[in-house]
Amino acid sequence: MTAAFSPASPAPPVLEVDRVSKRYPGVLANDAVSFSMFPGRIHGLLGENGSGKSTIIKTLSGVQRPDSGVLRIHGRPVSFADPVEARKAGIATVFQEFSIVPTLTVTENIHLGRMPRGRLGLVDWEAMRAATAEILTRLGVDIDPEAIVGRLSVAGQQMVEIAKAVATGASILILDEPTAALGLDEIAQLHALLRRMRAQGASMLYVSHRLDEVVSLVDDVTILRNGKVASAAGATEVTIDRIVAAMIGSEVGEHYPKSRNARDRVVLEAKGISTLQGARDVDLTLREGEVLGLGGVLGAGRTEIARALFGADALTAGEILLDGRKLRLSSPADAVAAGLALISENRKFDGLFPNFTGKANISIASLDRIMLRGLLRPDLEDANARRLVEELEITASAPDKAVGHLSGGNQQKVILARWLMTGARILILDEPTQGIDVGAKLAIYRLINRLTAEGKSVILISSDHEELLAMSDRIAIVRQGTVTRVAPAGALSHTDLVKASDDAGTDGASHEIPA
């Protein structure tokens, strides 16, 4: 920490992250990440999806141990076996999912697990109420201590969560995408609270996609790229353009072997489709041989659009046309029969059958193809699986192994093999390369090329902007469940995409975060 780069910080650092590395199978998620946090300062942590932000948060909050490197609190090295130890050391993390109990009051939540006891070992309600009032006043939060937390707004619940952290004596607060579910007014309230806490000497790590609010709030910023620190505190001026430049980097990215196969004929068309789950009045067209990219932040509604197109969520409005004919989808079974495939974002929950071998996972959507005289034929199943395993360069042992024992890349390819076997001609790939290694990624890009060359069409959902730009023919930007802009991939720059998606969401209109 050189004084020249770090704005004057008279106090010693509260928390030092010193060359922390963490490897997951196939990927180095954090590579010697270092930064320091100081009392009375808000430290922004930025980076694109997959840059290693969540990994470092997990390390700091005690969810996992780093492979190497040291954490120091007030200069003393610490190591956490679990989140409870991190909490005891004074690090409180406010995740996107809150850890409050919605059926209890504000007072009860703030004291959960450490209620003061009075005579006879009964809960000392007086002391509890007094302590709650004191904390809420100190934080300047205007919430009724007796309110049931589940009835508060999201912002209110979040403030209770923060108050709870403060009440446990946390000196370091980590906020992971704290504004993801908040409206503009609520963001302003939250920021006002964080500023008050900063004035009282708290040290905060602020992680967000929304660059404009980061710029208006933080004192220092560390930017991660590919698991490494791309820009340390003080190195980058805190302006949106500088930050975007540092996030994207200037080095040539991974190689994307893109072939263009889009033809004119429209195969799939969505007209004003909406679902209860969050797709709103979506219009889309997909052409033969085309890769249509869906861009947008996590939670923008891309997965919901995919599920609507696949019949997984029921339409409340609009219609879907396949080859110009209306497609009625009462369940995914209809979509599968019509030649659609959905490779979902979450392999484990929506994709894999942990009780099946690789080959049974591959054949489950096309059992008809391995039948003879009314019975499944193990030899046909085996032959089919082996052909696909070879074609997709899946590890040769995959057909007979339980899928749980395969690597992430091989698991993903097993699911792709399932849909190749059905002969699907419209494939919706939701984050197909998330959490898999570079080799497997390349194989998936090549597969996309091959499929489109055969005249099949792909809807690609990806939070990896480089990948989306390189592999798509056209890109539809999704915000709040609907498509706000469609453009040829060549007409969009990485910066366009980051800005369009990282925007808080009111259709291009600029908005100020009130201080």
Partner: protein, 324 residues
Amino acid sequence: MKFRLDPQLLVPLAALVVVAAVVALTSDRFLDPGNLGNLSLQASIVALIAIGSTVVIFTGGIDLSAGSMVALLTMILAVAIRDAGLPLEAALVLVLLTGIALGAFNGIVSAYLRIPSFITTLAGLIAFRGMALLFNNGSPIFSLDPRLEPIFYGSLAGIPLPFVYIVFFYAVAAVFMGRTRTGRKIYAVGGNPSAARLSGIKVERIQTTAFVIAGFMTAVGAILMAARLNSGSPNYGQTLELQAIAAAVVGGASLAGGRGNVLATLAGSFLIVVVQNGLNLNAVPSSIQNIILGAIILLAVGIDMWRSELTRAFAALLRRRPFH
């Protein structure tokens, strides 16, 4: 999913042999041919009903209603013959169809109306026996039809009929689970329902199918139960559902769904009945027998839940022992 003889079969078979050996040591009457024959006949009813319980467990559900359904179906059979004057054949078909209908009810309520099958069939456990008591003022009906008894006591080429049924139904069940689309889909639904849905499987339909199979097998068991004593009774089949579930779990079917081998349930059924027989031979009162059945169910489910830990502990034990 295995299509060969796999360890899933060997473990329950080994357990059966051990338990039988222990029982043989505690009572010299156990190996008496008369006792063994009796025991086998008794096991056949549990084993046939357990086919259905196992298939339901494979989908990730549970059927607690089988025992009460047996009582209800034997009363329906008795009333159909004695009061409605139906010929035996028609009465048997009626019982099978009623079993299918009750199974479909269980399935539709738990799959489409999304009431957990544990609750749906717990309601059935209570309600079906209540329905059985509606007939004949709640009293058993005896001496139904002279042609009923041979269904249980008859034999084919010297083999007692219950064994013929066992061989037939277990063969069908094994082919069904291992070699048909529906069987495979049952494992898929139990393994990961949301992945099954996204793979184009109609999850609710598969779950309902499993309960229909359970209802049918329960009807088969009810017919044997009625044939055995040539009577219908609202008291038949108590704890039968638990014996059937225990048979499935002892056989290695995972209560989480998606894993297990239906043939292993046969070994599990015999194991449960051998334990009961051993307790009877040693004049253990029925109160204690129920306690022991409870303990066996806990233990079997525990072994299912602790499987990964047990495997690890076992592997560690093997590693520690020098093999060379």
